[in-house]
């Protein structure tokens, strides 16, 4: 009987360690992203800069995908069929509950994009330990790049999530970004919460 028990235990351990490897969940807030799910924005900037600009710049724009992952998948498929698109902007709220798992699900589809993509932070993305998940997956909350003499400035405007502490949006950073120089001719500012919205820190 003792051997039977031992065999049973060993079988259980074997099953759990092989078949169910990905099912081990330690917490809904545990962040342990794989390599492809890290530093995503920076890697896409590098990818974009390798791409030679032509006479027209085409941007596919999405946002507020929340927990509509199937639709995100459809969006990605549609963009991939359009050869004109140079890059994709996701304007935030990719993780509805700010859960690391939702970050992974959202990026699962965006990773299938043939063109570079950039994800801005939305208020939903910041719930729980979402700020850590965002930073880990995408990088800095405020970031910018120059492509084809155009400066794209992504700025965190989710003031309410930071209790209107006067630091979000970081206007000094924005000011420095917008200061004219020879590197760019025009600038595009991208934000999640618009300035006329109640969630924007108008002070």
């Amino acid at each position: 009987m003792r051997t039977k028990i031992k065999l049973l235990i060993l079988t259980m351990v074997f099953i759990t360690l092989t078949a169910c490897d990905e099912m081990f969940d330690y917490s809904p807030y545990a962040i342990d992203f794989s390599e492809e799910n890290r530093n995503v924005n920076q890697r896409n900037i590098e990818k974009l800069l390798l791409h030679e600009p032509d006479d027209t710049l085409t941007i596919a724009f999405t946002g507020d995908t929340h927990r509509f992952f199937d639709q995100t998948d459809e969006f990605v498929k549609k963009v991939n069929k359009n050869p004109a698109v140079d890059f994709v902007i996701h304007v935030g709220d990719m993780a509805d509950f700010g859960l690391p798992k939702q970050y992974t699900w959202g990026n699962l589809y965006l990773l299938k994009l043939k063109v570079p993509y950039f994800v801005l932070v939305g208020n939903h993305d910041l719930v729980g330990n979402g700020i850590t998940a965002y930073t880990e997956m995408f990088g800095a909350l405020n970031f910018s790049f120059i492509y084809d003499s155009l400066k794209f400035i992504f700025i965190n405007t989710n003031g309410l999530e930071f209790k209107f502490n006067g630091e979000v949006p970081d206007v000094q950073w924005l000011d420095a970004q917008l200061r004219p120089n020879n590197d760019f001719l025009k600038a595009v500012v991208i934000f999640h919460v618009p300035p006329m919205n109640g969630d924007f820190d108008s002070s």
């Binding site: 330690y26 962040i31 309410l160």
Partner: protein, 207 residues
């Protein structure tokens, strides 16, 4: 609403078990101190791996209705080696064990347990009630406290019973999910079921 009701029922059962009116003070005084407090000693301790409530979690609890119902309280820990930030959490679990059969005098199989749990992660960012700086009903869920359900199985043995005060050792496994995952999965056929399942296993030492 039903969560609150469930909690009340659990509380009532727990209190009912602790303060049994048939046992009078006179009877108490005849017992020695250890016997007096023996009834408060948990019926089991558990050590669990994964299952969404910690890399490792330790639990204590009571059995009711001839071991058909268990109420356990777990403390779980996620170290920095598996997550960017370490996480501390507690969870309350109610497990119903409907079926059980004895393979032999030493081994009992409890094949299909169903359970409900509520999990609370510690930390300011894991709030339970919407912080006051938000407009009312801004977010409908709470990151700090969420609940889920699980299915489990258990093999109860007499292991360690002759060497320690424990009456037996059990090995169990469970498959669970939580409300926030189910909500995320709804309408998304492209998300595999495997992704919303929290798998865990553990060992229980019965008093």
């Amino acid at each position: 609403m039903w969560k609150r009701l469930c909690f009340k029922i659990v509380l009532a059962i727990t209190l009912g078990h602790m303060f049994n009116p048939t046992e009078t003070c006179a009877q108490y005084s005849q017992k020695n101190d250890s016997a007096k407090y023996a009834r408060f000693i948990p019926d089991y301790v558990k050590l669990q791996f994964a299952g969404g409530i910690g890399l490792l979690s330790a639990g204590v609890g009571y059995s009711f209705f001839k071991e058909k119902l268990e109420v356990s309280y777990f403390y779980g820990y996620v170290p920095k080696s598996v997550s960017i930030d370490d996480l501390h959490s507690v969870s309350l679990q109610v497990t119903a064990k409907f079926w059980r059969f004895k393979v032999n005098p030493g081994i009992e199989i409890v094949p299909l347990n169903v359970g409900w749990f509520i999990h609370h992660t510690f930390g300011n960012e894991y709030w339970i009630t919407l912080p006051s700086h938000y407009p009312a009903e801004y977010y409908w869920w709470s990151p700090g406290r969420n609940s889920g359900i699980f299915l489990g199985g258990e093999i109860k043995t007499k292991l360690l019973s002759n060497k320690t005060p424990a009456s037996g050792t059990a090995f169990y496994a469970r498959l669970g999910t939580r409300g926030l995952y189910v909500t995320s999965k709804i309408g998304n056929s492209s998300i595999p079921f495997r992704d919303i399942v929290e798998f865990g296993f553990g060992v229980a030492f019965y008093r």
